[in-house]
């Protein structure tokens, strides 16, 4: 009996830790997206001009200037609501992958246009930026892998139910 209890206990502990990691990663992602979105929205015109400098984006700079910060805010909101968290993580995984791919394309082409991520993120060189982004892709991946549907409440229920048997 004791053994069983311990197992259940450690199981719930593991779930707890997993959940904490997922929440910590979501927190980091929200911080990143909200920071990036705010610094873009504060000077939207400048941001539009900056992405216009990139040959990849120049055609769509008008739309993207709005779309990018709005998507960043939307994803942050999704990450903050536990019901939408998994979808939010998939979304952040996708957009971080997009940003990373974009940087990789910039690095392979000849013209090194200035980065337009906003705020202190612009201080990063393209190489460092690539590493930074890959790190966040991996973070979102980790969070998706660890995420289980409201694992915390489930494990508590389980821990209560079994000794009652």
């Amino acid at each position: 009996m004791k053994l069983l209890y311990m197992n259940i206990d450690s199981g719930s502990m593991q779930a707890k830790i997993k959940n904490m990691i997922v929440e910590a990663i979501c927190f980091c992602l929200i911080l990143l997206f909200m920071y990036a979105a705010t610094s873009k929205l504060l000077d939207l015109e400048r941001f539009a001009v900056q992405i216009g400098q990139s040959r990849l984006l120049t055609e769509y700079s008008g739309v993207l200037a709005w779309a990018v910060p709005l998507v960043e805010v939307a994803v942050s909101i999704m990450l903050a609501i536990s019901r939408l968290r998994l979808a939010g993580l998939y979304a952040s995984f996708t957009i971080m992958l997009l940003f990373t791919g974009y940087i990789a394309l910039i690095l392979t082409s000849d013209d090194r246009v200035p980065c337009s991520c906003g705020g202190v993120l612009e201080m990063l060189g393209w190489q460092e930026h690539l590493i930074f982004n890959v790190f966040f892709v991996l973070l979102s991946f980790t969070a998706i892998a660890l995420h289980t549907k409201s694992e915390y409440t489930q494990s508590i229920k389980g821990a209560i139910r079994i000794p009652n048997k």
Partner: protein, 347 residues
């Protein structure tokens, strides 16, 4: 991890790759379209020495009969002199106790036979001294701001500045008891706007006694004399005769910026003897795409006859192309990040 997660993740990955692929193919970056002109290659530059100068903030400050000098953007009083025969380098510090107010971002060093110049167009300051002594001798505060500075001799300089209409304009300054500044607004011909479309590089050609202005965004250079009279306008090989730029006015700061990346026609230029050397990003129709991708192409123009002479390659170094270059005697120096490479020119 559940199988559904893998499928969703793969779908997400696929989606981002697809979006990027669409962006990439539609941008036209992949096709470096050749232009309808031909180049003739004569590989005259043979690399002879790579030198680590530790910092990437060096630029070509000027060339004299026997040396090439590098200035440093972050240490404005520091100069490297490179002997064009022995390739020995000499680290020079301009010695001075008192200096007028200078701004770091607008202060440049120029060197021309016998004299060095510290110019700061934002503070309207020009300081002149002899190269052997490396001490300021004269300081001039002139009446006009300027952007480009090119010494002709120790008391006479060519400048590029903004006119009252805030457009690029070329002029000269003669210093003395009273500095005389002259401008000529007929030399630069504007297209679209008066700032970006006329932007370019100003050089003095000691061997001809003329000045030259090479536009960044169109296939033209202007030869004019020191009295600011036009000698001739000439076309380069590239076929872009009208500047491919889109400008945009920022309401928030009342400044103009480029809305889309401009099509650069003349990336880098330098004058060597009676020749103009242009680092050109255009691909010719008879050119090998692979060689083109892995090296810079330098087009050589004879300024005496105003004709195209030939082209040569300068290969990439550490997977990047050179930033700026200068030549003196039989030596060409190209700056790559925090290195310079010396090339031996045989002609």
């Amino acid at each position: 991890m559940k199988l559904t997660k893998y499928t969703t993740l793969t779908a997400c990955g696929g989606l981002s790759v697809l979006l990027l692929a669409i962006l990439y193919t539609r941008s036209g970056i992949s096709q470096t379209g050749a232009q309808p002109f031909k180049r003739f290659f004569r590989e005259i530059a043979e690399p002879s020495k790579v030198y680590d100068i530790k910092y990437n903030s060096y630029y070509i400050a000027g060339t004299t009969r026997d040396s090439i000098y590098l200035g440093n953007l972050t240490a404005p009083l520091h100069i490297i002199g490179i002997d064009n025969q022995s390739l020995d380098t000499q680290h020079i510090e301009i010695r001075t106790k008192t200096l007028p107010t200078l701004s770091l971002h607008s202060t440049r060093i120029s060197v021309r036979d016998g004299f060095f110049y510290i110019s700061d167009g934002a503070n309207r300051t020009i300081i002149v001294g002899r190269t052997g002594e490396w001490r300021p001798q004269h300081t001039y505060i002139i009446n006009e701001h300027f952007n480009d500075f090119e010494p002709i001799d120790s008391t006479f300089y060519a400048i590029g500045a903004y006119s009252l209409q805030r457009e690029n304009i070329l002029g000269t300054i003669r210093t003395g008891k009273n500095s005389i500044i002259e401008f000529e607004d007929q030399l630069l011909e504007k297209q679209i706007d008066g700032i970006f479309s006329t932007d370019g590089m100003l050089h003095y050609i000691p061997d001809l006694g003329h000045l030259i202005y090479v536009y960044y965004y169109r296939n033209q250079y202007i030869l004019f004399d020191t009295a600011l009279d036009l000698v001739t306008r000439c076309k380069t090989l590239d076929t872009t005769s009208f500047a491919q730029i889109r400008t945009h006015k920022l309401a928030s700061s009342d400044t103009y910026t480029l809305k889309a990346p401009p099509v650069l026609v003349n990336k880098n230029t330098c004058v060597w003897r009676k020749f103009l050397l242009i680092d050109s990003p255009a691909l010719a129709e008879n050119e090998n795409k692979n060689t083109f991708r892995l090296s810079s192409v330098i087009d050589v123009y004879n300024l005496q006859t105003q004709t195209y002479a030939f082209s040569f390659h300068i290969s990439e170094f550490n997977r990047s192309k050179f930033k700026s270059f200068g030549a003196s005697g039989n030596t060409l120096i190209a700056l790559f990040d925090h290195y310079f490479i010396a090339y031996n020119i045989t002609m």
